[in-house]
Structures are given as C-alpha cells and as structure tokens.
C-alpha cells in the first residue's frame, strides 16, 4: 500500500461554473422487501472526485441511481448547486452517467451515440462537439463503427465521451472499469483521473475495489448496509479507520479485543489477553471499558523472541509462527498468539529471514500506529466483502 501518495491532498478547489455542490440530505431508499439506503447525508463540493466504496449490496449503486434520477428516494432531498432536483425526472437533470455495462446503443454508430445527449438538448453543433469528445478519448477514427465492433476498453471510453460531452454538473461513474482486465483498468484509472483534473467536474465514482478508490479519489466514502461508515481522504481512512468494517474492508487489520485499564495522559493503557498496550486517545473511538485494539500488519516488525534490540518498541505480542509464505517482495506470517488468536504481519524482503514456522517470535509496533474501536463492532465485518 505505498502508491496512495498522489491524491491525498484536500479536495481540489472548485473551478467556477464547471461543477456544482451536490447535497444529499436525509436520503433513504426502501424497496418492498429491503432497505437499500438509510438516512444518508452527504455534501460533495464542486470539482471533487469522490469514490463511494463498499461491498455489493451496500447501497452505493442505489445512491448513484437516485442522484441520476433513475430511482426516486423514499425520503430526503437531493440538490445540485442549490437547486432541488428531487422531483426532477432523469432526463431533466444536469447529471450524466457512465454505466457499468456501458449501455451503448447498439443500433447507433459511435458518433451518434456520443451525439445523443447533445441532440436531445438541441445543441446546435452537436456533431462537431461529439467529434471533439471522441478525439478527447482518442477514438475519432472509429466514429462510424457500431458499438459491437469495439473492444471493451474502447466501448468504455465511448461511454465516457458520451457522458462528458454534455458538460454535466455532476458525472456519475457506476463501476465503469469493472469489466476491464487488470492492465487496462490501471491505464483507465490514470486516464480518468487526468480527464477529471482537466475538466474539473464533480465525479462520483462507485466501486467495490478499494485500491481503485484510493488511487483515484480525493475523497472516499466507505458504505456498508445503506450507510456511510466513514468518509475522508484515502490516507486518513487507511491510517485511522473508525469502525471494524472500514479497518477490514480497506486493506487488512489485526483486531484484538481488550479492556482499558489505565489512563496515561495522551493515551490509555489497554489489557489485551494479559499484554499491556498503549493507545493514543486521539486514535481511539472509545477510551474506557471494553474496546478493540487494531494495528495494520505492515506496521509490525517481527523477530525471533530472543533476538536483541527489539524490546524497546512500545506494543508487543509474543506468539508462535503458524505459517510463513514468501511472495518475493515480502514474507507474510501468520502468528498464533495465546489468548488472541491468529495475527497477520509481513516483512519487507531486506535479505533477512526472521522466522520459520514453529519459531517463537515477538511482534512489536509503535503505539502511534495503534487504533481503538468500539467493542460493539462485529470484528469480522468487511473481512472478505471486497
């Protein structure tokens, strides 16, 4: 997880006139037999690239469809740039969507697909603008083909051009890269981000791929069971998850139940299966009673138990290596810790070979990497949801 450094800054300043604040207030969506979105409040400043991240069924697509006007909310209001659009049908909203399936019109040529929205809006030079849109995605030479004659990646770019040429105030992307292979996906992620920076529109990107969300978005909103669990810039979310779901869904976490036993000023002391750990108060959701202590695997160091020079680190766990798998760049360890269970960690390949299965090891990490969660959370929430 070292590639997240590029877009961690604050949302870029809105470019005047090119986007609009999108405000969802108290939005709910109930279907006959289940609730898709529950009382959601969300304000997206103009020009932001926001990712709605979550497992399938978390309500992210429904949220997107409500913004597009393809689904009416059961309660709440949606406004774009101050105008209430809640009651506006889809075709009257200044919003365009890039669909997961691309949804290109198979009976129309590529250029007619791209010009469709412009013609509906009765734009004068629709064809010229469509042509320019195709040039932007470098597909002008395929203008007269039919969608079926294009590859998946090309269709995806046509879908993007078809939405972008209308200069919507908000562009919605519904897992637009889901159907592409890994390599193309990476390439399109970079391209999409570049285009967003150029046009300065508000992009709302729905995805279940955490890496994609973190690479591209200024702001990531993690959704679970119809609610936003946590929202923030990617690094903040990763380093300081506030719920077990976020901790597990966004990367991996070691979560250990414990009890606060003492107050030490800026931090508290937590008893985890007989081990005393330090937890900064600023990194804890809860600072007394029953809590859950968390730490990211890559923040831990691992060493054979009698090895000198590691005792000083703040928080420690002792255990027995169950499994060590060498992956080239790193070695991943599963360590059995009495009273806690299995803890995962890994070491960068610096040439050393710290431990083998069966070895007694010590794992240590700086207290400032520790985070504290509520004991009420389901510790396995989001573990294999992605």
């Amino acid at each position: 997880m070292t590639t997240i450094t590029t877009h961690q800054a604050q949302p870029s300043a809105p470019i005047p006139g090119s986007g609009a604040d999108l405000v969802l207030s108290g939005i709910s969506k109930h279907f006959a037999d289940f609730t898709a979105v529950e009382e959601m409040d969300l304000t997206i400043p103009s020009g932001t690239f926001i990712a709605l991240l979550g497992p399938s069924g978390c309500g992210k697509t429904t949220t997107l469809r409500m913004i597009a006007g393809l689904e009416a909310p059961t309660a709440g209001t949606i406004s774009i740039g101050g105008d209430d659009v809640t009651k506006l049908p889809s075709h009257k909203r200044p919003v365009n969507t890039v669909f997961q399936s691309y949804a290109l019109f198979p009976h129309l040529s590529i250029i007619d697909n791209v010009a469709f929205g412009l013609k509906q809006k009765k734009v004068r030079d629709a064809m010229a603008q469509a042509k320019a849109g195709l040039e932007m995605v470098e597909l002008a030479h395929l203008a007269n083909r039919k969608p079926a004659q294009l590859s998946g990646g090309q269709q995806q770019r046509v879908a993007l051009a078809r939405a972008l040429v209308n200069r919507p105030r908000v562009l919605l992307l519904d897992e637009p890269l889901g159907a592409l292979d890994m390599k193309l996906r990476r390439q399109m992620q970079v391209e999409l981000k570049k285009i967003q920076m150029e046009v300065g529109l508000t992009f709302i990107h729905v995805t279940h791929d955490q890496e994609e969300a973190m690479t591209m978005a200024d702001v990531v909103a993690v959704m679970n069971q119809g609610r936003i669990e946590q929202m923030g810039n990617p690094r903040e979310l990763y380093e300081l998850p506030r719920t077990a779901f976020v901790a597990n869904f966004l990367g991996k976490s070691n979560l250990m139940p414990g009890t606060v036993v003492a107050d030490a000023g800026d931090s508290v002391v937590v008893d985890v299966a007989g081990q005393r750990m330090e937890l900064p108060k600023s990194r804890a959701v809860k600072t007394e009673g029953q809590i859950v202590l968390g730490v990211r695997p890559e923040k831990m160091r691992i060493a054979e138990v009698h090895m000198q020079g590691f005792e000083h680190a703040g928080n420690q766990l002792l255990g027995t290596v169950l499994d060590a798998s060498f992956t080239g760049v790193s070695t991943e360890y599963l360590v059995e810790v009495p009273g806690i269970g299995t803890v995962g960690t890994f070491t960068q390949n610096l040439g050393q070979d710290p431990a083998k299965p069966g070895d007694e090891v010590r794992m240590s990490w700086e207290p400032e990497y520790t985070f504290g969660l509520d004991r009420e959370d389901d510790l396995s929430a989001g573990v294999d949801a992605s």
Partner: protein, 314 residues
Amino acid sequence: MSVSLDKPRGPAPKKPRDLRSAEEIKVEKKKGRMGLYLILPGMAYMALFFAAPVVVLLSMSLFVKPEGAEIGEFVPGWNWAAYGDMLGHYWPVLVRSFVFALIATIAALIIAFPMAYLVAVRLRGKPLLKGVLLVLLVAPFFSSFILRTQAWKQILADEGFIAQTLKAVAILPQDASLTATPFAVICGLTYNFLPFMMLPIYASLERLDVRLLEAAGDLYASPVRTFAKVTLPQAMPGVFAGTLLTFIPAAGDYVNAAILGNNRDTSMIGQVIDSRFFKVIDYPGAAALSVILMICILILVLIYIRRFGTKDLF
C-alpha cells in the same frame, strides 16, 4: 432492474412488511396501470374473438332442435345428447386423428432435427447460405399449403413417376396405390408441418455453444454420448415446442386427409367437424365434436407438459 445486484447481505427482515412509502407504492401502481392500457386492446380482442367464441361453441353443443324445425334451426338448451352421439359414432376417427398426428410428429422430428442442426450449427459463420436455407423454409407458405398438398397428390399418383418406378422395381405391388392411403395422409401431414418443427429446434440449437461439443470430444465422449449428453439437452426446449406446434394442428387438420386420403380408412376428425357444420348442418354435433377435440388435445398437452415440460415454453 439493476437494483437486484445490490441486495444487502444481511439477514432478510422477518416479516415481509412493505418498506416503501405510500407515494412509492402509488407510483408503482400507476406504472402497472400503464401496462394494463398497453395490453388492454389486444387482450379485449382475444377475449371477444377467442375466449367468447369458445364459450359460444360450448353452449352451441348443448342446443336442441325443436319439433318441426327447419334445417339449421336450433334453440338454446341443455341437451348433452350430442356428446354421446358424436363420441359413439366417431371415436375411431378421433383415435385415428391422434395416431396419424403422432406418427407425423415423430417423422417430422426425425427429419427436422438434422435440418435444424445443419443450419444452426454447421453453417455458423456462413450467414448467407444459412439465411437462404431459412428463407426456403418459410417461403413455401406463399405458394399455398393447398397447392403443395395437391402437388403431392399428383406426384404420388398412380400414373406418376414415383409410383411407376416403385412398381417397376416391385417395392410396391402392381395393384397398390400411394395416394388415397393412410401413408399418403401421414406424409402430407409430416410435410406440411415440418417448418413448425424445424424453427423452434433451430432456435434452441442456435444458442448451442460449439465449445461444449469440443470439450466433450476432448474428454473422450463418443459422438453418440456427446449427442445425448450435450446436444440433445440443449435442443430440448425447441424439440418440446416443435412437437406441440406440429402435433396440435396435425391432429385437427383435414386438408391432407381430404386431398390425399380416401373415404374408408383415412378420414380425420376435422373432416367430420367440417361436414357436420356445412353439409349435415348439425351445429350441436359439430360443436360437440370440436369441444371433444379441444378437451382431448388439452389433456394430452397437459400430460406432455407435466412429463417433459419446461415452464417457459413459448
């Protein structure tokens, strides 16, 4: 709707209370009403000119002929006698109709399957030839079913080329005929309903994934096994629809029997219904026979659907 992709994983709510707001339910109902407007004209038509006529037919089968009435004059009543009379007289004809239809259906299936396979599987990637063959299948409709049946009569006639050749090589006895026989009627039925058998099978085989056949071959399945385990199951919906679309009209047909048959052992139930209506002017009898035919077919079809059927037949 793509909503179904987004179903929550959590446990389903215990009681199926409708979670939508009153307004949403109203919108949904309004949408449903729009659908009703779309189907209403067509359905009203079907009610008026299919369902109502069947009811009229039923009631007509119970009409009575008053004392001293003129020919064709009947009054409404509850006279069930026509059913007994007709069944008593014509049950052999009814049975024969079904036997002929059954043999013709099996024969059509045997002929249509290779045709459908040829066009749907072998000619993949040759759209032009495939298109031509498909057109050849439907184009005969335009030369008229009666004319083609009449043509068969003349092709198979005693003085015709085929009958003469068969007699010359002694396959056919000198005093026998090809026309005016049960054989000729069954041939005509097979011929006339062949497209109805072939097209559904073709539609099913069209979707057959050729890679499955290759995979089966790779796994050392014999051609026969491959056919039985891969091709046939894929073709089943088509075979099912095709057999019904052949058997039902064949059982009620009377043109083939009238043109290619004789007066002794080939008459079919359709001929009887026709003559009861137009020659004997026995409306209750004709109606009763129609009702009997319809009920028999519905029973046979229901048994067939129960035994082999899929729900999404048509």
